[in-house]
């Protein structure tokens, strides 16, 4: 069975996480390391996917900096999104050639791991056709944005566990005007670590790999 290394990074600056991803992508492409699943939480940050060709715009950056929110343009797919405390962020670094060479199947599988995780907490979540992400009724609870380079994935998903949803007022999540929600808003009290462990288990099952903690060298 393929192995997947689980790394729980805790609260991590967006830029640092990006650097780590770049390093891991390179190592994964060279076959030096197995697949990876990074689980972490970011301080307040708004990121923009490449779709809008968006850059740091003073317009928003001014307002954001006053609200204490960092701002990053990124190279992932998808539009604008917010990350912050109380949100479980997952960055799978997976070589799809060893699973399925199928970008659509990959995104659906990530959605499935999140849906199964939420089911464990009694939340019935689902997909909305053509709107990538995980939804509870028509509220978005998890966002997905991915980059693939030589079949190795990066970026990933963000699941609102106890996120302060007020911060989403600074953006139109993914360019959609649908509302957002979180596990806490749906009455589920759970810690990030605990949800992360549940999610890692479902992730291993969906991707048919054995999850192992990082062994420090």
């Amino acid at each position: 069975m393929r192995k997947c290394c689980l790394r729980e990074l805790g609260r991590t600056d967006y830029g640092q996480a990006l650097e780590l991803q770049h390093q891991l992508i390179a190592e994964r492409q060279q076959g030096l390391i197995p697949d990876q699943l990074l689980l972490l939480e970011h301080p307040h940050v708004i990121t923009l996917g490449r779709n809008g060709h968006a850059n740091n715009l003073l317009a928003s950056a001014e307002v954001l900096s006053r609200a204490g929110i960092a701002f990053y343009p990124t190279d992932r797919g998808g539009d604008v999104t917010y990350h912050g405390p109380g949100q479980l962020v997952g960055y799978p670094i997976i070589d799809l050639r060893e699973w399925k060479r199928d970008v659509g199947a990959y995104v659906r599988a990530v959605e499935q791991a999140i849906i199964d995780t939420l089911a464990d907490y009694g939340i019935s979540a689902s997909r909305i056709p053509k709107l990538t992400g995980v939804w509870v009724d028509d509220r978005k609870i998890a966002a997905i944005g991915v980059r693939i380079s030589r079949w190795v994935t990066s970026h990933g998903f963000a699941l609102n566990v106890s996120t302060d949803l007020n911060y989403f007022q600074y953006i139109v999540p993914c360019g959609l005007t649908k509302p957002v929600t979180s596990m806490a808003a749906l009455g589920v009290r759970a810690g990030l670590h605990e949800v992360g462990q549940t999610l890692a288990a479902h992730f291993g099952r969906v991707f048919d790999c054995e999850m192992g903690e990082l062994i420090h060298d």
Partner: protein
């Protein structure tokens, strides 16, 4: 010749949007080196080249969505070049995903234009005629190797006088839609466009905009710039423009009238001790205002260096977030596009922005005689909630005075 096709990224995926070309026609590429990027369903993917050689044709423009297996480019293989030395390419990891089933009957891509240089637009023909230019000598960089207006201009510029500043280049004329096309086309705004739109409307709703215009005689500076231009370029490696002088003058005036360096937060006035001047930079599809920090503490050379560096990195999208934050005043130079005077919109939460018109030799009356002077119209849009007209005009008089009586050495 190797055809490069829109790869099949998965069973359920029948098309992809080509978001970015990483190589231009004529450029060399190695096998497996990223050639373009595509976007499918929230996933951006870098697609490596299937062969080594030279990119000979690009058939699909950025932003277009095409079906899988559509030919998007052609690569002319260079016979001698194989994979990079010492790194044999594993046959199993072919960069192109094998199509597991016959492709759906996607529409055949339009055949490449028969002429080597592609069809010529009327604009290109006109330009060539006007300048007596042999178009067969011009290398096309447009879609399918088509000769664009820029190609002609680049050719003319390299043959003749100094090239026009990049900002002054005209955008290419969009191709005419084919006959029988729909009358309108709906395109969602990019995220950046939405942010700009939001900010502009927010600013107009927030501030009581008033614009005042002052005429500044730049003759002395123009002469000084002429005198130092060559030395400056030789010493620093970039050219000397009016921008550092204007920034310096604004910084001096802001020291004299610090209320223009303040910002408003509801009913509170926030006084800033630092003078951080934002310089508006036009991007391909938008604008951004990177900030020169501590502008009052920099020399003309230091300001020019900072402005060149920020503008260059703004255009290559390499600014760091903190380089576009914390501005206390802004300058926008629409004069570089030939505008005489403008009424800029305040960059919130700042309270003033200075607009720079083009510097032009103009007849003016001095001591009842008509003289030819280099004149620049400077406009200041200010927030009348905080700044009254008298203060704004005192500020502009100071800017004018510094520029007209420039006494510092440049180098």
């Amino acid at each position: 010749m190797t055809d490069v096709v829109m790869p099949q990224m998965g069973e359920s995926i029948v098309e992809g949007t080509l978001t970015k070309w990483l190589k231009k026609p004529g450029e060399r590429i190695e096998r497996d080196e990223p050639l373009f990027e595509i976007s499918t369903d929230k996933v951006d993917t870098e697609i490596p080249s299937p062969a080594a050689g030279v990119v000979s044709e690009i058939l699909v423009e950025e932003g277009k969505t095409v079906g899988i297996n559509t030919v998007v480019a052609r690569i002319k293989e260079s016979g001698t070049v194989a994979g990079p030395e010492g790194t044999p390419l594993p046959p199993a990891s072919s960069p192109e995903p094998p199509a597991p089933e016959p492709p759906p009957p996607a529409p055949e891509p339009a055949p490449a234009p028969a002429e080597p240089s592609g069809p010529l637009s009327p604009l290109v023909r006109k330009l060539a005629r006007e300048h007596n230019l042999d178009l067969s000598q011009v290398k096309g960089t447009g879609a399918g190797g088509r000769i664009t207006k820029q190609d002609v201009e680049a050719r003319l510029a390299s043959a003749a006088a100094p090239p026009p500043p990049p900002l002054a280049a005209m955008p290419p004329m969009p191709p005419l839609p084919p006959a029988g096309a729909p009358r309108t086309r709906i395109e969602p705004m990019s995220a950046m466009r939405m942010k700009i739109a939001e900010h502009m409307v927010l600013s107009k709703q927030t501030s009581a905009h008033v614009t005042t215009i002052h005429r500044v005689d730049m003759t002395k500076l123009a002469r000084m710039r002429e005198r130092y231009k060559a030395d400056f370029q030789a010493s620093y490696g970039f050219s000397l423009t009016y921008m550092p002088f204007l920034t310096r003058a604004a910084a001096v005036a802001l020291r004299h009238f610090p209320l223009l360096n303040a910002s408003l937060d509801g009913n509170n006035i926030i006084h800033h001790n630092e003078i951080n001047i934002g310089i508006a930079v036009a991007l391909e599809n938008g604008l951004i205002v990177p900030v020169v920090r501590g502008a009052d503490e920099k020399t003309v050379a230091g300001l020019q260096r900072a402005i060149v560096d920020l503008a260059t990195r703004a255009r290559s999208r390499q600014l760091k977030p903190d380089e576009v934050q914390g501005g206390t005043f802004s300058i926008t130079n629409f004069g570089s596009y030939g505008s005489l005077v403008g009424t800029p919109i305040i960059n919130q939460p700042q309270v003033a922005i200075m607009g720079v018109g083009t510097v032009e030799k103009t007849p003016v009356v001095i001591d009842d005689a008509i003289a030819i002077r280099s004149i620049c119209l400077l406009s200041l849009s200010f927030d009348h909630r905080l700044i009254d007209g008298a203060l704004a005009d005192q500020f502009m008089s100071k800017v004018k005075q510094v520029l007209e009586e420039w006494s510092e050495e440049v180098l």
